[in-house]
């Protein structure tokens, strides 16, 4: 049985409206994509939607109390909150460099630091 799914592509700011004609478990056709990445996105979103994860992680003895992190690539949407729960209990020790791996192989991606946090003797105390 065929049906039409609609997705807004999130790959770039254009936000093309994708009309995806599907037949049970596979895609027949993708309309509305402004580029090839949109077609790929439609396919991914249909079979296994993925998202990038951005958050901050606590840092000890740093010039800032947190370091921003991102996943090295989008991870399955269904695992986003599980990853967030794992990251909630991680605390790093300063210094932290951009690119440092905070968590390896988490649902197909690494979690890497995206901000430099230098070491400071007198850290800022932000949470209990």
């Amino acid at each position: 049985m065929t049906r039409i799914e609609e997705y807004t592509c999130i790959v770039c700011p254009a936000g093309c409206l994708l009309k995806v004609l599907t037949d049970q478990n596979h895609i027949v056709k993708v309309d509305g994509a402004g580029c090839q990445r949109g077609v790929e996105y439609a396919s991914q979103e249909f079979s296994d939607p993925r998202r990038m994860v951005f958050t901050v992680i606590k840092v000890r003895n740093g010039e800032l109390p947190t370091v921003s992190v991102k996943t090295s690539r989008p991870i399955p949407k269904k695992h986003v909150f599980t990853l967030m729960r794992m990251l909630a209990s991680i605390e790093l020790e300063a210094p932290v460099e951009i690119g440092d791996v905070v968590l390896k192989d988490a649902y197909g991606a690494d979690v890497i630091a995206t901000r430099r946090v230098g070491r400071l003797k007198k850290p800022v105390c932000c949470s209990d």
């Binding site: 807004t8 790959v11 998202r51």
Partner: protein, 419 residues
Amino acid sequence: MRRMLEQEYDVIVIGGGPAGLSAATKAVEKGLKTMLLENREMLGGIPLQCIHTGFGVHCLKEDLTGTEFIARLIDRAERLGVESLVRTHVLSINIESLREKTVYAVSPKGLLKIRVKAIIYAAGARERHQFEVGLTGDRPDGVYTAGEAQALMDVYGVLPGRRIVILGSGDVGLIMARRFAMEKAEVKAVIEALPYPGGLTRNVVQCLQDFDIPLYLSHMVREVRGHDRVEKVVVTRVNGEMKPVEGSEFEVECDTLIVSAGLRPDIDLLEKMGVKTDPATGGPVVNEFYETSLPLVFTAGNALVINDLVDYDVEQGEAAATFASKLLDNYETPTINWRQVYRGRNIRLVVPQLVSGTMDVLFYARVQHPENNVNITIRETGFKRRLLRVKPGEMIRIRVPVEELAGLNGEKLIFEVVE
């Protein structure tokens, strides 16, 4: 005994965010003796608190987080030997003559008196607060602007609240909605006065739809209620004229209200010097050299016009420095017959506001309301560029080559959108 530290420079750049860093780096590349002044404790500006990607897509051909992007700019500036001072706040600027200005700045080292020939003002923007959007009711704790909430969470690691209402659906508000949801706070609603979202559609998808956060279009937050802390907000539907619809009020219980009502260029210092401003942008009027009405005082970045993409801040910063260098050599501004650019149909703002017609011009503009399949034109010259879709939330960046600026007969240059 006077301790004031006196120095001399070709260019002072005020503001160490993306526009200022780019301007200072370019100025040094052009061989100008440059000093960058930043009033916070570190260089970087707003991108320091932006942990999401979308930065540098154009200028670096990479999709970086704000934090990664600004580290690149800072590293590049340091590699090229850009001199900078942090915790240094400009108090006033005296103009003695064309190439003689004195900048008075205060820092923990003392009062600085800096003699300079040109100034590039890139001090960015400030956020509209609750009183600017006409909120009435109580004034409890728990009302934050979106940028403030972002700094609290993503720099200082503090969660502002548990049950959140966001006023405004521009990109910053949408990004913050996702942040709160990701940290398990309950985002009860995003309230938008216009009948369409202020930010990119992709953000509506990945920030609201992904988390089942309700978006109320054509609604406004009228009142805040709460004694010690926010307890609820009163929301009302609005009609086409943005007037509340009688009887449509409802309450949303929450403990935090995030006001994401937009930015305005922060140009107090320039206004005190009598700079000419454009009410449409809230920033200074500039010519195609990025020069304000004050000779050899340039501006770029959010201090000039609120940009969507950091790449535009970089572009404008570099352009301002390039022109500053050119004009320091040969100050041609007074010799040019400047043509004013007028805003025509469906154009809310456009910079630069003054052109010579003797060189290519990169225009940055925004429309008043969304339209599809239109042309951007300059009536006088017949310049025409087709655009599939225009939205107020997406800045239009258009390079008009000098040939298509030629043929200017009268003074008026009308920049407008036509079918």
